[in-house]
Amino acid sequence: MKDRNKFQAVDRREFVLGASAAAIVAANWSGMGEAQAKGAEDLIKKLTGGKKVTAGKVTVKLPDIAENGNTVPFTVRVDSPMTDKDYVKAIHVIATANPTPLVATYKLTAASGKAEVSSRMRMAKTQEIIVIAELSNGSFVSGKKNVKVTIGGCGG
C-alpha cells in the first residue's frame, strides 16, 4: 500500500513538472529521501531547462565503496565522435546527497577530442552520483553510479 502511494506521488509530480527530471530522480528512488530527491530534481531541471534527458552514452566511473569521503576519484566519459558537428558541450556532475549537489560543470569543445574528464569529489554520505551531458545538438544524456561512503567528507 505504501509503495502504491509513492508511485502515485511520482505520477502527479511527473504530470506537473514534466517527465524528464522527475523520471531520472524517480528511477533512483531507493536510497534517497524526499528532500534530497527534490533538490537533485530541481537542479537537473535547471541544468536542462526541463528538456528530456535520455539515459545512456555516459559512463560514470566511481568506486563502489569510498573509504574516504574527502576525496573520491571519478572519471566521466561520454560516447561522442567529438567533431565540429557532433560533440559534447557540457558535462554536469551531481552528488545528490551533498549540501551543494552540483559538483562541477565541465565545458568541452570540439577541440577536446575526447569527452572524458577525471577529478576528485567530496561525498557527504552514501548516495547516487548523476552525470548529465549536454550535446551540441541540444539534447541531454545521462549516467549514474551509486557509491557507498564509510566516512563522509564535506567538512560540515
Partner: protein, 107 residues
C-alpha cells in the same frame, strides 16, 4: 595560490588526442566548516573556475563548486590542431588568479 603541476606533452602529431593532467594545491574551503575556537563559520574559498585556452581558443573549462576535493586534480583531453601554446588559468573565489602555460610542437 601555489604553483600548479601540469602534465602536458611537448610534441604530438597534428590531430592527435592527448591527455592533460593538472594538480593545484588548494584547501578548497567549503564554507561549511566552523572555527573550533570561535564557533564562527569559515567562509567559502575555492577555485571556482579552471580554463585551458590553446592559441587563443578555449578548449576546456571547469566550473567547480565546493564538493570538489582539496588539491584539485583534473584530467581532460585535447586534440592538437597545430603547434602552439596552452594557457591554463585557475580562478579563486577571492579573485586571485594563477596562470601557467605550456608549449607543444605538432608535426
Amino acid at each position: 595560490m601555489a604553483k600548479p603541476r601540469i602534465k602536458f606533452p611537448k610534441t604530438a602529431k597534428v590531430g592527435q588526442v592527448v591527455q592533460i593532467k593538472t594538480l593545484m594545491s588548494h584547501p578548497m574551503e567549503t564554507g561549511l566548516r566552523k572555527n573550533k575556537k570561535t564557533g564562527k563559520k569559515i567562509p567559502r574559498n575555492i577555485i571556482n573556475t579552471f580554463t585551458a585556452v590553446f592559441n587563443g581558443k578555449p578548449v576546456f573549462e571547469a566550473d567547480m563548486e565546493s564538493s570538489v576535493s582539496a588539491n584539485t586534480y583534473m584530467s581532460f583531453y585535447f586534440k592538437v590542431p597545430a603547434s602552439g601554446e596552452m594557457v591554463f588559468t585557475w580562478l579563486e573565489d577571492s579573485g586571485k588568479k594563477t596562470t601557467a602555460s605550456r608549449k607543444i610542437t605538432a608535426s
